[in-house]
Amino acid sequence: MAAAPLREQLSALLSSMFSQGLVDEQFEQLQMLQDEGGTPGFVAEVVTLFCDDAERIIAEIATLLEQPIVSFDKVDAFVHQLKGSSASVGAQKVKFTCMQFRQFCQEKSRDGCLMALAVVRNEFYDLRNKFQTMLQLEQQIQAYDPKQQ
């Protein structure tokens, strides 16, 4: 009974994430796999892995852009990896910002890359906060009703 308002919160959170374009149908597919495939924790595991990996990649990119001579190929490779992993989890906004970032890498523009990195970082942090809230709500729901979810 106490899980009902938590479920409502979770549902509202997910709806806003979809409506704001933070996540796309790929994330929905992962949720379906978790629900229909009977693999609890599937989404949590993937989301956590993405957040850790994205943080690492963003730090690597920042380090590369601080160098006196920027290796735009290496930066592009990292951005490509972040784009790929964000697409795999359905992080739509992060994916789009990575695509724009790659344009600056191809133009070999340090200023452009720094600006794009700031955008990617902001979008990622926003998404990470939402993911953390989502996982907390799921854990609380599971604590009240372990048979479901």
Binding site: Q26, Q29, L30, M32, L33, Q34, G37, G38, T39, F42, E45, V46, L49, F50, D53, A77, H80, Q81, K83, G84, S85, A87, S88, V89, G90
Partner: protein, 249 residues
Amino acid sequence: MGAAAVRVLVVDDSPVDRRVVELLLRTHCGGGGGAAPFHVTAVDSGKKAMELLGLEGQRRKQMCPSATAAAAADANEQAIDIVLTDYCMPEMTGYDLLKAIKALGSPNPIPVVVMSSENEPQRISRCLTAGAEDFILKPLKINDVQRLRECSGARPKAATTDDDDDRCNTVSSSRKKLPSDHTAKKVATAEQKTSPLAGLAMVINASSFEVSHYFQLLFKFILIAYAVLCLSQLLHRWSNGSFLSLWCA
């Protein structure tokens, strides 16, 4: 219960992509009716994939030095049924891995499926020309799992060849723009795999170009022989006819 597990080697340098693909394959057995589950091995580089495949090949040779035993071991103990590799990887790309696997020269080559987040026709065509069974756009989706199952050749007993061929053709035409000969090659390969003469098909696949050329020559020879036979029959009748006309006259 159902078919034996399909052993997939997933090669991807991204830990997130690797895990998503791994979970997707393990979770979605799909298809129903005894569809084979997936047994997934994941590595993060082409080099590690080659080590795994190369070591397995050496192990087989060491365990079964004789040709007959090696063939039996090859049929029953092949560790990997299909390789699913990302295209963009540092040091050894998925394309390099594909070519290396095909260059192993195995009589029963492991099918390789390449995946990439970039929808580049040249990249797709290059991989298919190099021998890739299929090319899948990332992120992987649920319906890609069935494509993978078909490419591995491990199907439930109730599956029909026509559906698989249609699916291969439909997927090929909708997902990527393939030259018609590549599509035909895939259809022919799918048909050969499911025909009762599977053993003959495997031999044909092993030297497909040379054997098909041989059959063309054989067919031409048979046609020529038949034509000569018909001609000789005609000449014989004409000659008999001319004798008769002379005799009647």
